[in-house]
């Protein structure tokens, strides 16, 4: 396979105005921040942002007006701000539209996208007002399980245009290793039409001989060398979140 190693500047051009995107990590952990900063610098607009429990990366995208629509289960900066400021304000002001999801349904949808199947069932959920929202959006259907007759929610496959996944190590072809928490990052990579890997370290392909990469090269579009690429969010086991910089961004205190 040829090398997919490109610069951050080249990589951001793979994301187009109006694209649906998903990113690695949660809250203040392993967000692909180097890429996100490059993206807002590029002036990207109208993104449809899809994720389970985003935090800091989403706040940056929102602050710089990059996002038009959201599909997420929760956005929080936890101790820093239970309800992130831009998230709250822009939805209340209708500058951004939100289709609220729920974790299990997001996982079902992104797994369906990853596996190449049209939908996936998920348990629970029935009785939630989210059902109406998603039925209207065409993203969920309530059916009777044809085996048991019981009602169950089907989630339509989630297939983002672009996934941006920050990893510990990658080779030039895109084989990638994530240490520690994984979240849905493998499913995100497998489900998305384009996959951009940003990596703390570029390793030779032989690093992966005999090993299972967390994400296989076959699924990857481009690789970017981005040391400290998650800062100020955390990157296990390399660095903790930079609380000072997060507070500074939020303009608290």
């Amino acid at each position: 396979m040829d090398s997919k190693l490109i610069t951050l500047e080249e990589a951001v051009k793979l994301v187009k105005n109006g694209d649906s995107i998903t990113i690695s990590g949660i809250s203040i952990h392993r967000n692909p921040m180097a890429f996100i900063y490059a993206l807002v610098k590029e002036g990207i607009r109208d993104l449809y942002f899809i994720d389970r429990e985003p935090g800091f990366g989403l706040e940056v995208l929102l602050k710089y007006g990059a996002v038009r629509k959201l599909r997420i289960a929760m956005s929080t900066l936890e101790w820093f701000s239970s309800i992130p400021k831009n998230f709250r304000k822009m939805i209340e002001n209708k500058e951004v539209e939100l289709l609220e999801d729920t974790c299990g349904a997001f996982i079902a949808g992104i797994r369906a996208g990853a596996f190449g199947i049209p939908f996936m069932p998920v348990r629970g959920i029935l009785g939630s007002d989210l059902v109406k929202l998603h039925e209207k959006a065409g993203t969920w259907k309530v059916i009777e399980d044809p085996f048991s007759g019981e009602k169950i929610v089907l989630v339509k496959a989630i297939i983002p245009d672009v996934a941006i996944i920050h990893v510990n190590r990658a080779d030039e072809e895109g084989n990638a290793e994530i240490i520690g928490p994984l979240y849905e990052d493998v499913y995100k990579a497998k489900a998305s039409k384009k996959v951009i890997i940003t990596a703390e370290e570029i390793v030779p392909k032989s690093y992966f001989y005999g090993k299972r990469p967390t994400i296989n090269a076959e699924y990857v579009t481009a690789v970017v060398h981005a040391p400290k690429g998650a800062e100020p969010t955390s990157m296990f086991p390399l660095y903790d979140a930079d609380y000072e910089r997060i507070i500074e961004f939020l303009g608290h205190f």
């Binding site: 101790w79 009785g127 979140a241």
Partner: protein
Amino acid sequence: MKAYTIDYVIKAISTLLEDGELVYIGLNSVPALIGTFMARDLYKKKIRIIGVAEAENPVRVTLSPSTGNPFFLESSPVMITADSFDLAQKGKLDVMFLGPAQIDEETNINLSVIGDYENPKVRLPGGAATAFIFPLVKKAILWNLKHSKRSLVKRVDFVTGTAKFSNNKVFVVTNLGVLRYDRKDKKWYLDYVYPFTSYEQVKENTEFEVEKGYMIKIEINEKDLEFINSVDPYELRSALEIL
């Protein structure tokens, strides 16, 4: 040592956990995290702790601004959230904590919006796992630090999730005490109060009916405080102090 009100919430959470339980801790869940580790490490309950940090029963934790801190993994294997939630789908997840802004008499809870979904007065963080997991988990512990007629309401503005069609146990831990939902008579009972709260106070501050339950008083001793401070040496929990 001084006890914060939230320390009573923490102790109450610890009290509700039982031997053999598998407990999941989500994001933004400071009292759940401290209370659960208190149950395991101070009160020696045989529970296993998993969560959004993807740490499988870490030997020790120190509270940081995120309850999803991956550095919990320094003393534990990784267990990813998708795997944990699959256990919930199999009915094998025992305890989940949720922090709704509104809870109503039918066990509907709201973490989405105050007001109308399309025209929210307050856009809340969102339910995260709520809709999915609330009916699946064997014991749901809801926590809310602002017990009032605006949070414990007749009817929530938006049903983010509900346990109405489930048969699980539902508790609400607040800054005033602990309510238990009884599925037989579809009523709420006050099982625990704090030294500084009373049934009358709870009744006055709850929009739906609350009956007297076990009415056990949660007390905090020096050992509790020492433990809480050992997990939260920077007293980050004080930011949640609202009384």
